[in-house]
Symmetry: D2
């Protein structure tokens, strides 16, 4: 039976002096050569289901042959988790600055070229070790040596990133607003996407936009590309995914058990665990490049009856939604139907019926293929 240790990480403090803390669970694997794993949940306040997945993973791992180390961090963002306004949980962006909590991670691209220059002839193990240390030193530098200080979100993000840098495999558990399950996967790790029980995969390029997944795979991918420029091939061990578990503002422990098993299937594939019953489910899996993942913005203000089913190709011309505009009744059109002129797969829609002109109504795979 697997044992775990538990720590409480301090990541900030509030105006009253209240400490912001994050629980960190660590499981020790039996094989130092097996990949290590970092999993966090609830970076956005309303996206809570990942916490339940972590609970179910901890329960399942009790009876699992664990090879690699696993670090699990629920409630990763203690400001976001508790950020209420009205009945709902805001927590998508810092309430003071408006910055998305998952856009504050760090990647210093300028550090890669000099590193490559000094390691052109190093062996793989040396490179991996030295590069890991560079990434960690870079974060430590930010956390500890800045007289002008860090933002609230950077302080949280960098401490999480420090943990994530120490793992080979990184999973950031999110949810959409009202959403089907989908996966953000770097293009180079496409093969791994089939081992999750998630039918929709977004293939993302090597562009850094501040998210945790990018902040942990972009350095390695860039390293690979820089070595390639020098004619040296370098296989990346690091994989980072953002796992979108479904809809926000919901906890469902039964669904969480399924989600946990899907993650264990991926960990089995990667050799983190040795437990053959965890295998991917048979399902149709679709892939879409990030550039083809389109947001559809409402062409009008109104109140929306969302019609399109998630996850299935929707033929051109079929309605995504109809928008109620009672103020038009009698002298206009009280119902407006929305459709597109090409086939799409609807992945998620806005959390509320009430939308302004320009509110993001749907996100869809506008082009897609089988994974």
């Amino acid at each position: 039976m697997t044992n775990f240790s538990k720590e409480v990480m301090h990541v900030g403090e509030m105006a009253s002096g209240a400490k912001l803390t994050v629980p960190v669970y660590r499981l020790k694997g039996s094989d130092a050569t097996a990949p290590s794993v970092y999993i966090q949940a609830n970076m956005h306040g309303a996206e809570v289901q990942g916490n339940a997945v972590i609970l179910q993973m901890l329960e399942l791992l009790k009876a699992t042959d664990l090879k690699g180390d696993i670090t699990l961090v629920p409630y990763a963002n203690p400001v976001g988790c508790n950020h209420k306004n009205g009945e709902y949980t805001l927590g998508r962006f810092d309430p003071i600055t408006g910055v998305n909590w998952n856009r504050m991670f760090h990647f210093n691209e300028a550090a890669i070229a000099p590193f490559v220059a000094t390691h052109l002839d190093s062996n793989i193990a040396t490179i991996e070790q030295a590069f890991s240390e560079l990434m960690l030193a870079d974060i430590d530098q930010l956390l500890d040596h800045n007289i002008y200080g860090l933002t609230t979100g950077q302080r949280i993000a960098y401490q999480l990133q420090r943990l994530a840098h120490q793992a080979d495999l990184v999973l950031d558990l999110h949810t959409g607003p009202i959403s089907s399950k989908h996966l953000y996967c770097p293009e180079y790790a496409r093969e791994s996407a089939s081992y999750f029980d998630i039918p929709h995969t977004l293939l993302i390029p090597n562009d850094f936009d501040g998210a945790l997944d990018e902040s942990t795979f972009c350095p390695w991918w860039t390293l690979q590309e820089q070595f390639a420029k020098h004619g040296r091939s370098f296989k990346i061990k690091k994989e980072s995914f953002t796992v979108e578990l479904g809809s926000q503002e919901q906890i469902d422990l039964d669904v969480a058990l399924d989600d946990a098993k899907g993650i264990l299937s991926y960990l089995q594939y990667k050799g983190v665990i040795n437990q053959a019953q965890y295998q991917p489910k048979e399902m149709l899996r679709y892939a879409c490049y990030l550039k083809d993942y389109k947001a559809f913005y409402s062409p009008m203000g109104g109140m929306v009856d969302y019609l399109a089913e998630f996850g299935q190709p929707l033929p051109a011309g079929e309605p995504l939604a109809r928008i109620l505009r009672m103020d038009n009744y009698g002298d206009g059109d009280p119902l407006h139907y929305i459709s597109l002129d090409h086939e799409v797969i609807p992945i998620l829609h806005f959390a509320s019926a009430s939308v302004n002109q320009g509110t993001e109504l749907y996100k869809v795979f506008s082009k897609f293929s089988l994974l």
Copy 2:
């Protein structure tokens, strides 16, 4: 075929000078002696489904033999409707003052006794007419003659109340957060509750707490009671209900059609329309006195997996919910089950999985009977 007229009512203005307006639809009945009706929707920003019900009613009424006048007001609260913070619609209370928009209506109980004293010997028609005029004059006085002014919410509420005072039957269309359908019904109108297609009825006493329904039936009920003290029996024609249509933040036009038919069933019963196909559905109907309608507050902070099914009696000891507390994993209990020691009917629960200690988790019928 029924015709309607449409007006735009000005109810306030914002800091930029933007006008706050409310559309008002009026349908003229063929029989001046038939009861008149006032229906409004969306007094709370997130409770949008009533707007769709008004659309469906207008459509159904096109082919209906209309006896009484009907006034329909969607988007009754133009501040609340558009009050976003994050993806959700707040709009339950004034963002500046925190006051619930549906607690600002008016009832001046002190005006009743003098009225009764001067009408002890008047006939019913005279009393009804004079009392209606008194109610309207009272509202007009508030709206027009106050050098210190009115709050934003009073100005909106009083203008709506002025319309509601002019009708015999008043329906205020609301929703719960995540909720089954239920009806707030004054105790004296219990019989009417069976004509709506709503399985759960709350019987409310003659206590004024600022809501529209109370503000329109309390005066008449108090009038009746005061006449009764003088030995005169007086049957109230006025009926006011708050109709809770289900969950907030959702528009479903198909469900709205059913809801509209349920309301027409009530209007058929009251003689507002003459269209025999609108009859109440057969269903088990439960009643609960308001004092027995209990809010259950979370005994702890945490993230909630809501378990209890709405609308069905839940036996004593059966779980309402389980609360996840991942921070307790390893040194406490990560799951806490909630139950009660007596049978209840769960009616609604909180809109979010994330709750603080003391957040209202559920509202339940703690005692109930068949209607």
Copy 3:
């Protein structure tokens, strides 16, 4: 030199499990017969200056001959203190329910008459002791014996009230939005108001509306009234004040030192301390009955240039403010001047230039006299 002890009181927990705590400082006086004191600050999130006053009091009390016990509670509301949305601190009402945090205290008026009936012949000391115990038992009952639970705000309020019930003198440190200093004082304690260095006093009646001051003096005042009905005179020792220290969202440690000295002047007068240098300042002191303390609501939406000086009588017809309405430029009046037809003393105004029609612009003494 005075010593103090410090505790941390748990008053709730958030969704992530984070504990809500409040620091409690206790100073022990040398004379058990001297009045005891309870002072809290920051019940509303933005009203922070009271925390600085508590700091300065603790510093001043180091060199003070202390007779009575003093309990000091800064950061009394740990949810409100940390409730940000945008740059400002909200924290005036529960973000989930909209209820004002200072309207959740408890007073069970029905308990007084039975108490009086059983103590008609008791001596004063017995009555005071027994009544204190009754108040505490009532609160303990609420906190500990309610299967349906308490709201978040009640749990905080009742725990503070439990401390306040144990003191003879209660000060609740608040601020206005943008405001002069003023004092809420029960009518019976009018004489004490002259000992604070506060030029404006509101005399409030024995009406309970949920605030801490009322929740601690209303029981005693009602007790006095009930004894009076039975022909027994009973002098109240309990005094409770809400002290409005100026404007919110500001900390000024120098002003706080003055405020602390003003409070010590009152404590010297009551015999809590024995330090003759703390005497009230000479100043013109105005009094106004609560019924004459009027809110002026903006007659229009717009952006306000506040003109009237605080604290001085403003003659009839002199402008309180002018409201900018640029959208009217060219086809209306871009500036609207606000005045009243009678003399008033402006006490506070709204925190922002931007107001809706019906926003509370000013609060004024509409009738007043010298204290």
Copy 4:
């Protein structure tokens, strides 16, 4: 006497169907060769003082010899202006998406090189005309031809930008939170900065970050740079500034009159008006490069007594602020002083006393020179 025309521009609609409108004032100059001007205010909801400046400009321009055309847009952001939560105006970022309203303007850098390639031999007038048309066509394309639509903020921004593109001189009137007056000025227009009555100038490079000023000068500056690469010198007529008028949440019509005169001094310098009395005031003017404009983030949570005076060099080691931490009283340090190890000029500080660890406390010129 100058005449103006007034339009109402539709920029969006809300969930209830309410139209979002912006008033546009246009003054016609007498000289078609004089530079034209675009001035907007209140892009961020709380930054209202610019509206008053526009009022005072309109009043002053009545008696001004106007050569160039002027377009004036108060209340530029009708969502932001009216976005209240609590007493304050949020309106800095879209409440739904968290995106800063002044980061949604457009600049398509990729369009410049092809334009230059086709106009290497064109004359200046042709280039200016053709480039203006390109900029406008680009915006029109975005507004009208996008099946997936625009965000709420883009729709507002692009319509404002269309107006700004048509002017030679662009002023965007903002304010800081609690702030001294300062000016964002592109490095190439440094000379113009002396004509405003603003003592602190930030010199900004040719980097586009989404703000209106950048979106209007970056295209021209880039055009200049691209022509320079081809050996052709090209003097930019376009100048765009963000004018920070002082503190937010305040209207002061007297200060606005001064601000309006300062702007007229700049317009006199540029030949837009011919009214010699408008001359810059004598004052010490400081300049700082944007890279040296530093935000200082709070090293701890707490409540801040801001000490440093705005606008004056603060010697190394002198306190910027002291932070109160009452919870540390007795077992820590209740007051923490903040200072820097080098001289700075404090320009603005946070709007509230309550800060989290990592909240932006101050912005300062960390290196500076005379303008």
